[in-house]
Point group: C2
Chain length 375, copies 2
């Protein structure tokens, strides 16, 4: 895998680039849709490509529980299993263990937890996370890190930074001793922790940078802290992280967040917002959010966004989509998902083209002005 | 609307034909997927076309309750509302009133019932059914009939035949006084009732035939009676119904049923089986039914049916589809629906081509021999 910066914005840290993987190229800045269980909920790989998805994310925790790595390995890896031939990134499983499972014990060895599905006991270690990710076969795999909540105190965050360093040593060792089981390369991204404490962020960045071959992640943000604190940390990361590697801001965010983070030098994003909020009837547009369940759309025969040319907007009205949500029809979930993913991926494409053309600063300010406040 | 018979089979009553409507042609024999609430569950109009759907069915009862005819009328009819520009058939609402709602009273005037959704009281009359169907704007609309259960006695069925005649007079009168509200034609099909009693079927056929302009339906079958009794009634209908009009067997059936009924002169079918059973994980193939939830498919990386070229079979394995059902992922429902609809519509196309080529009898016998018993 390698990364080339194509163009740097003169007024901000925004830049365009290309990541080359054995499953194809990724143009940055990019957004990564979430394919929790080996499927981006409600949509097919062909539809993902039609909205210009370049890379998807698979959740190690969910895939480990169902269907399990034995099956995915037998299928020839996650790409083959789900019929997706472009790049995949898998997370380490840690975040879901911390947020979904019942935690029993965290030690320097790993995390003992009980499945949120059936209460069964599991022990996820750095080595186990790497073993699972080797079997899933993603192009980009994530180091096993400890991610405390956004309101954790400095001691807790400091311990998480310390443990994240202990764990990445184990990840690195495992990967060195156990090469990819498939005939393509897998690149591990280390994850910088440190909460909203600059000194801890700095320490974690120093500790993680040596592990970064072609990409590094900013973790532990968008977990409950203030937005302003998040952006300060991203600015700090922009100063400290290598400029010749892609920076991946995990779990972020709203359209506004994406633009603000690209300005601060972020190249990659993943987030459940477009897909999950879509399934709740919240649609993103160039003028802000639309809650399609709202009664005011009952007789509204316009498309969701007059500026949008996605499959949903090209074929269906607000009135019809509202009706589908009202009757709990699955087709509504699909149409909302397609629209929102198209919106997010189109937004990234717009950012790339305006960085390329040199008018990113003006364009992005106008774009943000047109959005409603909470978008 | 008009109908032309293209080719008659020499060994059976099977025939091919073309129905011309203001929304395009329908090649018969044809299967009509069910679009209950203005959507064939889980799939888009484009996908319906990709599996060669030529006409869909909308349920008057469901559409009347949600979203209501005021909205569909404001949208310019059901075609516009849901984005489907090929022919539509709507049922009369009667069958759902009898099977889903709480019935309060049936008189010669109509049916008083309470909504299965909220218990609200409604009175569905022949005139009201026609008014709703005028607003929905389907190309083919169905007379309001009384459809008793399959185990009803001869007196009950006789009364239903009598009432169906009283009601169709009212339907006819309403339609004469209230032409289509859209700029396309709507043709009403009368429905022959009579249960499994030849004399009542004969009487009902005689009463209904004068109302048939271009199509007549066989109702009150597949409602719990024996299969052999159903086929006897279809044979009787084959003798009695006009040969120059399409015959529509309502609510039927399995792949075997379709072949057996085409042999007996039926041209049109609708049924929930391919869509509903698909959503339950039951997939139809050229060798019989597959329950994709079965554990034996866990490591089965073959396509559902090696002879099938649908989007599902072209892209996904049994193992993956089984996984989607296991995690209750909506994409599984879609892939199953697409496969089953493709199977049904492809089966109709196979029948048409073998009738056309003159080897329908041999071909259909072979085909039936390859199916498992309950398909």
């Amino acid at each position: 895998m390698n990364f080339n910066v194509l163009k740097k914005d003169v007024n901000s840290s925004a830049r365009t680039g290309i990541i080359k993987t054995d499953h194809g190229e990724i143009q940055t800045p990019i957004f990564i849709p979430i394919g929790t269980h080996g499927a981006v909920k409600t949509v097919t790989p062909a539809e993902l490509k039609s909205v210009k998805t370049q890379i998807i994310l698979g959740n190690t925790y969910h895939l480990y529980l169902r269907p399990g790595t034995e099956l995915i390995n037998a299928a020839g890896g996650l790409h083959n299993f789900m019929g997706w031939d472009l790049p995949i990134l898998t997370d380490s499983g840690g975040f879901q263990v911390f947020s979904l499972a019942r935690l029993n014990k965290i030690t320097d060895e790993g995390v003992e937890f009980q499945s949120h599905l059936d209460g069964s006991r599991h022990f996820l270690t750095p080595e186990k996370s790497m073993e699972i990710q080797r079997n899933l076969g993603a192009d980009i795999i994530m180091a096993f890190d400890e991610c405390p909540p956004g309101d954790a105190d400095i001691v807790t965050i400091g311990n998480a930074v310390k443990r994240t360093k202990i764990w990445i040593d184990k990840c690195q060792r495992y990967l060195g001793e156990n090469p990819s089981v498939y005939n393509w390369k897998q690149t591990m991204f280390p994850i910088v922790q440190g909460g909203v404490f600059p000194e801890l962020r700095k320490l974690s960045a120093e500790e993680m940078i040596p592990f970064a071959k072609c990409g590094i992640a900013i973790g532990g943000l968008a977990v409950g802290e203030e937005k302003s604190a998040m952006f300060k940390m991203i600015e700090l990361m922009d100063e400290l992280l290598p400029k010749d590697q892609p920076r991946y801001l995990m779990g972020v965010g709203t359209p506004t967040d994406l633009i603000q983070a690209v300005r601060r030098g972020v190249d990659m994003f993943d987030c459940v917002i477009p897909t999950r909020n879509g399934r709740n009837g919240q649609l993103f547009t160039s003028f802000g959010k639309v809650n399609i369940r709202n009664k005011k759309y009952k007789f509204d025969f316009n498309q969701i966004d007059g500026n949008c040319n996605c499959e949903t907007c090209s074929n269906f009205t607000r009135s019809y989509i509202r009706h589908l949500f009202n009757i709990n029809e699955v087709l509504g979930l699909r149409l909302a998902t397609i629209h929102n993913l198209h919106y997010y991926l189109n937004l990234m494409e717009l950012m790339r083209s305006h960085i390329q053309e040199g008018d990113f600063q003006n364009w992005s300010q106008n774009y943000l002005n047109n959005l409603t406040k909470d978008s």
